[in-house]
Symmetry: C2
Subunit: 545 residues, 2 copies
Amino acid sequence: MPDERTELSPTGWGPAESAHDLPSAGRKWLHREIGWTPRDTPAEALAAVTTAATRLSDSSSSALIEIVGEDQVRTDGPSRLRRGAGRSYLDLIRRRSGDVSGLPDAVVLPGSHDEVLAVLSRCVEDDIAVVPFGGGTSVVGGLGGDGGEHRAVVALDVARLNAIDSIDAKSLLVTAGAGLRGPEFEARMARYGLTLGHFPQSYEYATLGGYAATRSVGQASTGYGRFDELVSGVRLATPVGSWQVGRAPASAAGPDLLGLVLGSEGVLGVITELTLRVRPAPETKHYEGWSFRSLPRALEGLRQLARAELLPDIARLSDPDETRANIVLAASSKANALQTLLRARGHGAGCLLIVGWEGDTDSVGVRRRAASSLLRRCEAVRIGRSVGQSWLSSRYSGPYLRDALLDVGLLVETLETAASWSDLAEVYQATREALITSLSTADKKPLVMCHVSHVYPTGASLYFTVLADRDDDRPLQQWLLAKRAATDALLSAGGVLTHHHAVGIDHAPWLSREIGDLGVAVLHAVKDRLDPTGICNPCVLFGRP
Amino acid sequence: MPDERTELSPTGWGPAESAHDLPSAGRKWLHREIGWTPRDTPAEALAAVTTAATRLSDSSSSALIEIVGEDQVRTDGPSRLRRGAGRSYLDLIRRRSGDVSGLPDAVVLPGSHDEVLAVLSRCVEDDIAVVPFGGGTSVVGGLGGDGGEHRAVVALDVARLNAIDSIDAKSLLVTAGAGLRGPEFEARMARYGLTLGHFPQSYEYATLGGYAATRSVGQASTGYGRFDELVSGVRLATPVGSWQVGRAPASAAGPDLLGLVLGSEGVLGVITELTLRVRPAPETKHYEGWSFRSLPRALEGLRQLARAELLPDIARLSDPDETRANIVLAASSKANALQTLLRARGHGAGCLLIVGWEGDTDSVGVRRRAASSLLRRCEAVRIGRSVGQSWLSSRYSGPYLRDALLDVGLLVETLETAASWSDLAEVYQATREALITSLSTADKKPLVMCHVSHVYPTGASLYFTVLADRDDDRPLQQWLLAKRAATDALLSAGGVLTHHHAVGIDHAPWLSREIGDLGVAVLHAVKDRLDPTGICNPCVLFGRP
């Protein structure tokens, strides 16, 4: 894990030295599978590229400096570049080609809630759009945008809002600044024997505020709950004032307004502080692997676990293609041995399930035994702990590996959805087929892998990873067509628009299909009330105005 | 349990024949405790009272009949009286004194979602307020109101929206009409081996739509979840059209709009249909009683259970006064024996805890053993199953007993809140003291009892029941002053305005204190968008316009 304030690279995920390599066995296999030939496609060196001049006027700049201090208003190229986009495939392909458009005119780093309020006020006055910036890990264009029709745009970086204001260990409630990152927060909680239990793949970089603004879901959310379930209150700075929303433990005083702020992606204002539900840190963690003969059997196994209220805290089921790719790409003697074992059991084209149990030792034992017995009745085979440990140790490594794949001419992107158990198989098939069809050519086809990473009594999530030979002439168009086909397909089959990546710019065209025209109208009404001049993250959620 | 379409009496809860009597030992004890002398204070016979003429114009009436049919528009006195108020102490005292003000001008019973839409359209055109009516069990004035400044007001009774449209047993999702009552719904579910698990005290009368509109909480909600957690989608008919809100199993596509409809108390439109999360019906139900020496120890015991994730499905803890009153009012040899036992254990002024476990037999056994062991470490004493069974058999009887108490000169009312574990003791004390102070006179004092009925990791609910000698000259004023004092006190101490009774008219004055001025402004913006002429339940939530 990088140290706490390590920043993402503008053209990839981690700092260059942490880039992972694709093993040569994997290269050969991918060549055979998808018709891709490794080639050097390095990122442009952005240091050499000139960024557009800032549109921030001197008077606006002085006014903002007056509020936050000289050092906290930055208009230099690198500062703006670092906050200018998220880390979707589209973002990275643009930046890697030397395209540095869409940068904020300045970065502003307020040091308190009141400073955020003052910044918003000034931006209303000067017609400057404000894009909240947390960790920069959005993969749906959540940070993009040139400010729409406003005179300029600033990135409001919440990094300095990083205090822990109160720890109520008795009520398991902690109030903390929106700019805290997961590792910093967990380290502070560990001193009190507590944990939040929120571990998305973006964990090393993403902030608490970003989790809340996007309804993040973590790898352990089956057990610990989605991030929206971990928030009991937020403090929102809006252009029309301060709003403290949410009361613990529960209230029946009218509609739930906290849920309106969670997932609001910056369009209603800036989340500056959150009150979070924490838990006692687990005494025991037990991870292990299981195998199913086929995907339908595996999904039925997960459904039975959910129905019996025996779900583990982590449940991550790979489809046959992802299972196979993981074994091949691991390229180790252990992985080969595993493959031999699975073949011998008739699971040669099977599905790997990683389960994780966390909690006090007794209860982990009891839950695990009951679930194991049910898994066996569903004809699953236990593979053992090393597979689980191996997943655990590489749980944040995917995006680093992506950097390496982007360097050698691959298209690599993910998309996700969720559906009820009744619709899940059809959503899986329809999405997969749409991706395969749209990314296939006469002699090439993509590798479409999928896993379930979050399980509910009523259904589950589906997370697709796509690898294909990149169309070097039209890489953006290549993915946009595939994404459009897949999204249309998954919505038609009954999937949700997004289970945990949020809307951003990328999903905005489908929002009314997801929440209805009246839903969009209601959100507009709320936005108009809190942000009458429309300066708050104007390009996301509803799409470019 | 009355049969499915038995109706509440306009002056009380159940039909007259089901009224319960106060045992004579209880009468004597109450006389000593609170200085009350039994006297006959029967309800006026409303049949003899003339209701105000309907303000519904002939043209409106014809138009509504055109939509829903001749039999489904009712302007007779009894029909209007039956939907004219909820069942709070204030409602009942008014009706019992012969006050039949605030009646709707007509009752309309649409038979479909489209009919509801058409009724709303016509009411917009004719400036008629619409108050949705489910079971009539509101205790916060949720059905009250004369329509504000509109020309007339109709009660829109959802009773005919009572179909079960789909049962997806695989995904545990059921879509049903808003007018279904709990017993009807559970009976239908039982045929499929399913249950909703929602059992509020109003269970015999309340409707699914009412549960959703008020964020109902049931007696088993610690295990099964609050009603808002059981809803995965609703269909809302609004003056500007239809809105289908909510997608299973989960979505990160922007703010949560379902939570905006849940708890909306009819101000945004009429909930006509719900998709609910059901569960396999439990194989085993095990209820039993435990005793704690004191309230602080008992609260700590519940907190420890929550922290260890060992909460039972039902947890109902009575404070010392409620424990004592239950034993005395039961007036049975069993109750006397229990009291002797508790005294012998040093629990003479202790707290009774009812716990209930539901589920498959193995899991109930495992959970119960682990929780029992923790309860013993918290110095609780197990009393056995008969106390639990006795609670179970009388779980819906409280409001029937209230009818009997109202007949003999008592003030009897409840109020509720919730608070974090850190604030809970102070909220308890402050509320109790406010009630005692405001209801005491030179020679009389109230009996203030309290129980915890819903437990969360972060806190718990508090439910107060008050008995006092009624001020026969100013009964309404007597309670209004006490309610105001108690509400101010509980809010100041950190409690929520209401944990499960909703806002209605009664809590409206405190809404901005609970959700902030911006919260109220946001709700107004949403209402203005969906109900531009303000015809939807105009007197609740925000208060009389």
